[in-house]
Amino acid sequence: MKVALFIPCYVDAFFPEVGIATLELLERLDIEVAYPLDQTCCGQPMANSGCHDEAAATEKLFVKNFAGFDYVVGPSGSCVHHIRENLTAIPQTAQVAKVRASTFELVEFLHDVVKVQAFPWAEFRHKVGLHNGCTTLRALREAKMSEIDEPFFSKPIDLLSKVEGIQFVKPDRPDECCGFGGTFSVFEEPVSARMGYDKVNDHHRAGAEYIVSADTSCMMHQKGCAERLGLPIKFIHVAQVLNGARA
């Protein structure tokens, strides 16, 4: 199995520890991982702003970097969603289609493809609030959404439950969007910040010491909000917890 590691731009620049944990975790699971060195971004920021023309060259580069692998795995739900559902600014050749269909968010890759049964090295003795990013929840369908009356399921909880000592808290509105929304966070700053404040307060009230998520971008926004509010809440990516981070 040839797996390419996709580290989104903002993870590369601001949260390398998430990329490191992802790589180490995959290697612990005996998966051979390559990291294409010329990768940048998936094109989502431009495409979500309506700017298809401006996204095209970036999308082309993405496909060039990630062609020829069995799987492309990245620790970011919204980027993976863009690649799978919306990478359409370039002609849809067989190669493009193959890359798009082979791209997985880390949690679904571990849960559905590798089918990991245990993380014996992992132990996280903290109360955590799980945050599912909206595309991870409603588009990648990694967990039951509150809008639909369906049996409970949650791929991130399935995996995290295998971590020694972890305790989940229940916020009032677990599925509410945190207000990041890509460029929304800047161009609609008042509502974005308000949503972020409400989100971190909800987790804080529920007793979360950590917010854990598969979506680094949501956490970047929430972390900025929590720090400004002075809330004693910490943030950690699912990959770090599964890789054995203790705090």
């Binding site: 620049a13 298809h52 929304g181 404040y197």
Partner: protein, 461 residues
């Protein structure tokens, strides 16, 4: 025409602390009630599919069903009028009223008449209009449009209503008891029902097979508006048609559950035949709907039954209020309808969304709302309606991200600026991120640098 600045308007809304808290909580409460009610029906998801299919079928054969409706309504004794646009609609209503020497109109809720700007048109021609729905009346007295299509005054606290009523219908300004206020409005409205020359409703559904107009309400005001005056006018958007009476059950089971989380509205009134000695007029209004029907990506929006579930669940709507959209239709459904009326004016609205998709998941007729929002963004960009700063930012990002070397240089520069810029510059008004949020700290090494250093050290494995 000036562009609506949703972000600016939302910031005003958010500053009123008590209001935004109440607004968010009240609408979230409706969303939760909707969850509970829909969960009671094991077949809810099937109903959504059925409702969607009925609507898609009807819209695909709309001309035929409209003519069938006209034939049956005419046979029932109603008079059917066709209005190409808002101006024709308003003219038709005025002409009908004039020919009956009717000067007062008691009116139930209708978003369509707001869409047509009917009230000012008629008022300028000497007609007095009484909105008889409590929420609509509050908004009329406060000279504001409705902020929500189902609960028009949901952005107001009861103290606001006490102020409006005290200034307009003479209630005690210090008394904000809900029952007192509602009863005061009721007493104030009653005489109008008795002397009005005409009554008006919109329609939730118009049944082609029988020529029936169906109006779902909770206050009884629509029935009074229809049954007391000798002239009844119904204004109906052409997308409200459903083929058969048996289809009504599907929609009635979903409408109030989706809207307010109640199993059904207090009243589901069927108006079919004019009472002896009175007239019933039906105005079928297009006003852009045919054009929308021809838009490959957007015609699904015509399936909308105006339940407001997308608004109740929308985290952006709940924190910005309906008035911040500056349009008749606000919230997610407004964001995908409004640009069809005026692309430039409403070009910021599709960006007033995080694309979280909750709206799509609650929509009882399965409109792919968030996907349409995404598509509108492309059209707005293609037609050069993006703000210059956003377009230029995207052009620069598109260049940087498509060239690995440029990208790596930019990452270095960003890291350096985070590290070295003084806080005062970092958190200037120009940095929208930093107004209410801390900026992430740049790490000593990027992931790529760490990876390369590991490779150089011979790797871990």
């Amino acid at each position: 025409m000036k562009r609506i600045d949703h972000a600016e308007a939302s910031s005003k809304f958010i500053r009123a602390k008590d209001h935004i808290e109440f607004h968010d909580k009240r609408l979230w409460d409706l969303r939760q009630k909707r969850d509970r009610e829909s969960a009671h029906l094991a077949e809810w998801e099937q109903l959504r599919s059925l409702a969607s299919a009925i609507k898609e079928h009807t819209l695909t054969n709309l001309a035929d069903y409209l003519e069938e409706f006209e034939r049956n309504a005419t046979r029932n004794g109603a008079q059917v009028h066709w209005a190409r646009d808002a101006a024709e609609h308003n003219q038709i209503v005025f002409d009908i009223m004039s020919s009956h020497h009717a000067h007062t109109l008691v009116k139930a809720k209708s978003m369509l008449t707001d869409e047509c700007d009917m009230r000012p048109y008629l008022e300028n021609r000497g007609i007095e209009i009484m909105e008889t729905d409590l929420g609509e009346r509050i908004q009329q007295l406060d000279d504001e449009p409705p902020s929500h299509i189902v609960v028009p005054a949901v952005h107001k606290l009861k103290a606001d209503v006490a102020r409006v009523f005290s200034e307009t219908i003479g209630t005690d300004p210090k008394n904000s008891d809900v029952h007192y206020l509602a009863e005061s409005q009721r007493q104030h409205t009653r005489p109008y029902f008795l002397r009005a020359g005409a009554g008006m409703t919109g329609a939730n559904f118009a049944v082609a097979e029988t020529g029936t107009i169906v109006v779902c309400t909770n206050e009884g005001n629509a029935d009074l508006s229809v049954n007391l005056p000798n002239l009844y006018i119904a204004s109906i958007g052409i997308e409200k048609i459903i083929p058969r009476i048996e289809h009504l059950g599907v929609f009635i089971r979903m409408l109030s559950r989706s809207a307010l989380g109640s199993p059904i509205t207090q009243l589901t009134s069927h108006f079919r035949v004019p009472r002896a000695g009175t007239e019933m007029h039906i105005v079928l209004v297009d006003n852009g709907r045919s054009e929308r029907l021809g838009m490959a990506d957007f015609w699904y929006s015509l399936k909308c039954i105006r339940c407001g579930a997308c608004m109740n669940t929308c985290p952006v709507y709940r924190r910005s209020g309906g008035l911040s959209y500056g349009a008749t239709y606000s919230g997610p459904i407004g964001v995908i309808i409004d640009p069809t009326f005026n692309l430039r004016k409403y070009s910021s609205l599709p960006f007033a969304s995080t694309l979280n998709g909750s709206c799509t998941s609650v929509c009882p007729v399965r409109i792919n709302i968030h996907e349409q929002i995404y598509k509108w963004r492309q059209i707005i960009s293609e037609r050069n309606q993006l703000p210059m700063v956003k377009k230029e930012t995207m052009q620069i990002m598109g260049k940087v991200f498509s060239k690995p070397k440029l990208y790596r240089a930019a990452v270095q520069a960003a890291g350096a600026s985070v590290e070295h810029l003084p806080r005062s510059m970092m958190y200037s008004r120009l940095n929208a991120w930093g107004r209410q949020r801390e900026v992430p700290q740049a790490p000593p090494l990027t992931f790529r640098q760490w990876y390369l250093s590991r490779v150089n050290k011979g790797g871990e494995r």
